[in-house]
């Protein structure tokens, strides 16, 4: 077999493998609306309270029929206190309460963020460690890194009555019962600054996980966020 034929065979093998893998992968489609309240305190402290709900509209495998029944999945309530520790950085800690299928799930959150203002955009690096406790499952430990970019569509910053793009990419490492998993998120959103204190964002929240150990699980959420500065 000459080199060209070997290369062609390799490409065909990759395509057939990826098609096979994709066919057995599962997916879910749904909505992820959230509302974020932010409150500034004295001495560089700030509070964040967030409610996020998850609703499933469709799920299945790529090569099979899918279930299109609507299903309410969960609601998260999180409360985070943050302290500015540098010019553009903040150290935060908080608690998340999740209500899912009649069970209460608790999560502790530790977060460090750095926001950079560049001439035509803003960048935010976020490192989060969290620990999730639930009565039915072993404690899950996660370490996450997210890079988010805000690109104003008019001018050098997203001012009131202006649109912006917010694109983020996050890598979530998790360990539960000695099992390691990696989740990757890609979230492109279109935002609109209604006023200095109100912003809304809508777009896709794509997540892929379980691909290291078995068939990948893809999630396509329609994300709808409302940020309110009190």
């Amino acid at each position: 077999m000459n080199t060209e034929k070997q290369f062609l065979f390799f490409i065909c093998l990759c395509l057939s493998f990826s098609h096979e893998t994709m066919a057995q992968s599962t997916f879910q489609v749904g909505c992820l609306p959230s509302i974020n309240f932010n409150y500034k305190l004295k001495n560089d402290w700030a509070l964040n309270f967030k409610i996020e709900s998850r609703q499933l509209l469709q799920r299945g495998t790529f090569n099979d029929d899918s279930d299109k029944n609507y299903e309410y999945v969960l609601t998260d309530y999180s409360f985070i206190a943050a302290k500015k520790v540098g010019l553009n950085s903040r150290l935060s800690g908080g608690y998340l309460f999740r209500f899912r299928g009649g069970n209460a799930i608790h999560r502790l959150i530790q977060q460090y963020t750095v926001t950079q203002k560049l001439p035509l955009l803003r960048l935010a690096h976020r490192v989060v460690a969290d620990q999730t406790f639930s009565p039915r499952e072993a404690t899950e430990f996660r370490l996450r890194y997210r890079l988010a970019v805000e690109l104003p569509l008019n001018g050098q910053s997203a001012d009131p009555k202006e649109f912006y793009l917010k694109i983020s990419n996050e890598y979530l490492n998790s360990i539960q019962n000695a099992d390691y998993d990696l989740e990757i998120r890609f979230v492109p959103l279109l935002g609109y600054a209604i006023t200095e204190k109100h912003k809304i964002e809508v777009g896709l929240d794509y997540r892929i996980n379980s691909f290291l150990n078995q068939y990948a699980r893809h999630s396509f959420w329609t994300s709808l966020n409302w940020f309110i500065e009190i």
């Binding site: 700030a46 553009n88 803003r122 935010a124 001018g155 009131p160 500065e229």
Partner: protein, 194 residues
């Protein structure tokens, strides 16, 4: 006794004030401006500079009014030229390196920054020219220096004190005298953090 109380209060007030920088806050809303909406006077000035690269036009709205700004690169230097709302030239700012400043000027600026901040870091230095339009045009095009225009320096510095870290924009004269100070206010970033 009364004198002692007054003196104690005065010292207390002075101590509190001396640890605090009195700076006006700087809020600016800027939006992109299409070239067709730029006043012809401003457009004419920029055309005379024969800029080869891309020119970005902005409309800036602040407490002091509305202005128009052109931003571009010329001779590998970032230029920012500000006009009033009808296109009259206000000033020309060129970004330079801290190391390009003369030592006495650097010493004077450092002295003022050292008074305001326990620790400081200079983030941006711009030389600012203002004066007659044709003299400044000639200055930018040929680089020739005359005494017929005003030179100032705009310094953006990160200022660290025991209780806080802030970003300030200072304006200094060409001899290094402090003329103005503004605190740069950051836009809230909660949508990038949560």
């Amino acid at each position: 006794m009364f004198k002692h109380i007054i003196l104690t209060i005065a010292i207390g007030v002075f101590t509190i004030c001396s640890n605090h920088i009195y700076a006006q806050k700087k809020y600016e809303k800027e939006s992109r401006l299409k070239e067709k909406n730029v006043p012809s006077k401003a457009l004419g000035f920029i055309d005379s500079l024969e800029v080869r690269g891309r020119i970005r036009w902005y409309l800036e709205e602040g407490f002091e009014g509305t202005s128009i700004e052109a931003k571009f690169n010329l001779n590998n230097q970032k230029h920012s030229i500000e006009f009033d709302s009808i296109g009259n030239l206000e000033d020309i700012e060129i970004q330079i390196n801290w190391s390009e400043l003369q030592k006495p000027l650097k010493d004077s600026i450092s002295f003022y920054l050292g008074k305001d901040c326990e620790k400081f870091k200079i983030q941006k230095v711009q030389i600012q020219y203002s004066g007659d339009r044709s003299i400044l045009l000639s200055k930018i095009k040929t680089g020739e220096s005359t005494d017929n225009y005003t030179v100032r320096y705009e310094i953006v510095a990160k200022c660290c004190n025991t209780k806080n870290v802030s970003l300030f924009e200072y304006l200094f004269s060409n001899t290094g005298q402090k003329l103005a100070i503004f605190q740069i206010v950051f836009k809230n970033s909660s949508n990038l953090e949560y």
